[in-house]
Amino acid sequence: MTEALLQVDDLRVSFDSEDGVVHAVDGISYAVDTGKTLGIVGESGSGKSVSSLTTLGLTRGPRAKIEGRMMFNGRDLLTLPDEDLRKVRGDDIAMIFQDPLSALHPFYKVGVQLIEAMQSHRSISKSAAHTRAAEMLELVGIPDPKRRVDQYPHEFSGGMRQRAMIAMALSNEPKLLIADEPTTALDVTVQAQILALLQDLQDRLGMAIIIITHDLGVVAEIADDIAVMYAGRIVERGTTEEIFHSPQHPYTWGLLSSIPRLDNPRDEELVPISGRPPSLINRPSGCHFHPRCPYARDAHKRVDPPLEAVNGGTHLAACLLEGTVRTRIWDGIRTGRDLESLKRLAATSAQPVVEGDAATAPESEGTQPEPGEGSLVESEQPAREHSTETPFMGPEEMP
């Protein structure tokens, strides 16, 4: 495999707060290649925005603790001095924010803001930058760009502001574009326009895109690969086809069956995920999803599942259920089997073994599956022991 444009390894971001340490991002790894789109999906508080803000050094501060590696073009963004990072930010890596009204400065004309973005990275004369600003606005499909370039943000509609943001982000031809909920504030028809625009620009300019969203429909349309985040971790990662056609994690199943879909029968009952997202200060023990997971078994409260390959491929999932059982449960969900019978199915899955009772051996080779049905590929991987008494101290695991 060739070097990826952005390679993130075991990124951890935590913030010291009055209530305790907030583990916003807890050991995530992903990679994005040039010309590809990675979708990061998750609910509010899953750490998806923090991970991308960290790429641009926007989470640096006295109370933040950032660990891991973030290789971009052969340089580690995490250790780059502020001065150097500023040169990367807005030039090689650009970002589109969720709320275009608060991300544009209300006192300055849109053109002036675009010119500033260009002049801070290139030596370009003001008049040339002004011409280029108008060209950029034209590129993103704003009608009458020569007039619009001298208008203020409040004179733009929501969709046009988002286009102006995209124009600004693209003005230095970045290699990587990070779009944080770029369409959440927009209507569906405008959302469709913006998504089409992003794809079109990617085809023409060949940049990599990371799109962060909670909308599964949006990632299905635009992403090549998807990472599903929950409580600061990636719980499942794979290609878009893998995630939508053979999802492996109960949280992904929950997300897929809790939204009403145009392609399902109309009166179909929605299956919500019970409970609510956990606090990132007081995370649940073991598998972080176990309090909301209908298929959780006792041992799942103690064992922290590593992110491991499904069928030896690129599709990764962090779940303690056996792979064969997971496949059968997902088939059951799709064919509308009732939850009780699916739970019974989950109960046939071998429990991961917790070595000892308290903290004995921190790690051991290969957990033995309990005698029972099914041989499993997954449990070859070492599952980490995790004592219930200290639920917040995440084990320093590194798959």
Binding site: G159, V188, L255, P260, R266
Partner: protein, 352 residues
């Protein structure tokens, strides 16, 4: 069953635009709602969809007289609401309640949950017996899935989904006939949305509620509603039973909306995207005649001269369009998955 609970005729709300500091004169009007007519049957769920600024929330507020309409009539349960005196509205609101979009700003942060939910009883002076109110409130909390022991907690101690449940409990406290839900789930996380949607459906079944459900999310509306009205710039452009609207949309705007909805299926969602150009025009200065003609892919000269009326279109719905979508055009716009459903149940839409 077929009794109309609420009938709306030619409802209009114009907000004046004024100029001048001392002597204000009206220089125009934002035509937020401009001639809307519909009726909702007892026990039915009526959906209203549309983009930002189409007047759907204004319509909701007019229905329960949180605003006074400029003109038009609203007949609720045999009584005219539009011209009712302010003093008589209390009786009206006993039968008609609203759930708001933002669960953070619609609950008073300085009141406990118990007192928020019992407010309707205080206002209407019901259940005055000692402890009776508290018992009622705890019943309600149990019913909407809140722990009754949290009676004395404050809103900030609850998550968004739970707050929305508090809003629902308050709205059903008086056992209203009509519940108006204005974007009840759009502020919630995806995994929580389904909880609130299921709650609303369950309450509707149990209490025989009539529901007016306003949202911009077409999938959610399809899931919840029996009948759906599509609004554009203050007017209803299409109104059909949900099954009809989502499989045979006749108005080009509805077609464009449906084609824009992202479908969470990387293969089943693919179709020729029909992108509307530009944004919604300003409701202060809407286009002449058919308001959609500036963005409509099928617009012809007639569209800018003559305003189309809502009329029955083939398939079973009504739409306001001179040149409704043909079956082929519908097929090319709908996501594959919807088109599949379309051909499955009723293949009898192939007449010339």
């Amino acid at each position: 069953m077929s009794e109309n609970l609420i009938e709306v005729r030619d409802l209009v709300k114009h907000f004046p635009i004024k100029q001048g500091i001392v002597f204000q004169r009206q220089v125009g009007a934002v035509k937020a709602v401009d001639g809307v007519s519909f009726e909702v049957k007892q026990g039915e769920t009526m959906g209203i969809v549309g983009e930002t600024g189409c007047g759907k929330s204004t319509t909701a507020r007019l229905l329960c007289r949180l605003m006074d309409p400029t003109s038009g009539s609203i007949v609720f349960d045999g009584h005219e609401v539009a011209t009712q005196k302010r003093d008589d509205l209390k009786a009206l609101h006993r039968d008609m309640q609203m759930i708001f979009q933002d669960p953070y700003s619609s609950l008073n942060p300085r009141k406990t949950i118990g007192s928020i939910i019992s407010d309707p009883f205080v206002i209407h002076n019901l259940y005055t017996g000692d402890g009776e109110r508290k018992r009622r409130v705890q019943d309600l909390m149990d019913r909407v899935g809140l722990n009754p022991e949290h009676y004395n907690r404050y809103p900030h101690e609850f998550s968004g989904g739970q707050r929305q449940r508090i809003g629902v409990a308050r709205a059903i406290a008086l056992e209203p006939k009509l519940l108006i839900a204005d974007e009840p789930v759009s502020a919630l996380d995806v995994s929580i949305q389904a909880q609130v949607l299921n709650l609303l459906r369950q309450l509707q079944r149990e209490m025989g509620l009539t529901l007016i459900f306003i949202a911009h999310d077409l999938s959610v509306v399809r899931h919840m509603c029996d009948r759906v009205a599509v609004m554009y710039l203050g007017k209803i452009v299409e109104m059909s039973p949900a099954d009809v609207l989502y499989t045979t949309p006749r108005h080009p705007y509805t077609g464009a909306l449906l084609s824009a909805v992202p479908v969470p299926d990387p293969t089943g969602g693919k179709r020729k995207r029909e992108l509307l150009s530009g944004d919604v025009p300003s409701p202060a200065n809407p286009p002449s005649a058919c308001r959609f003609h500036t963005r409509c892919p099928k617009a012809q000269e007639l569209c800018s001269q003559d305003e189309p009326e809502l009329s029955a279109k083939r398939g079973g719905g009504i739409a306001a369009c001179h040149f409704p979508l043909t079956d082929e055009e519908i097929a090319s716009r709908l996501p594959v998955a919807l088109a599949r459903q379309r051909s499955a149940p009723e293949p009898a839409t192939t007449d010339a």
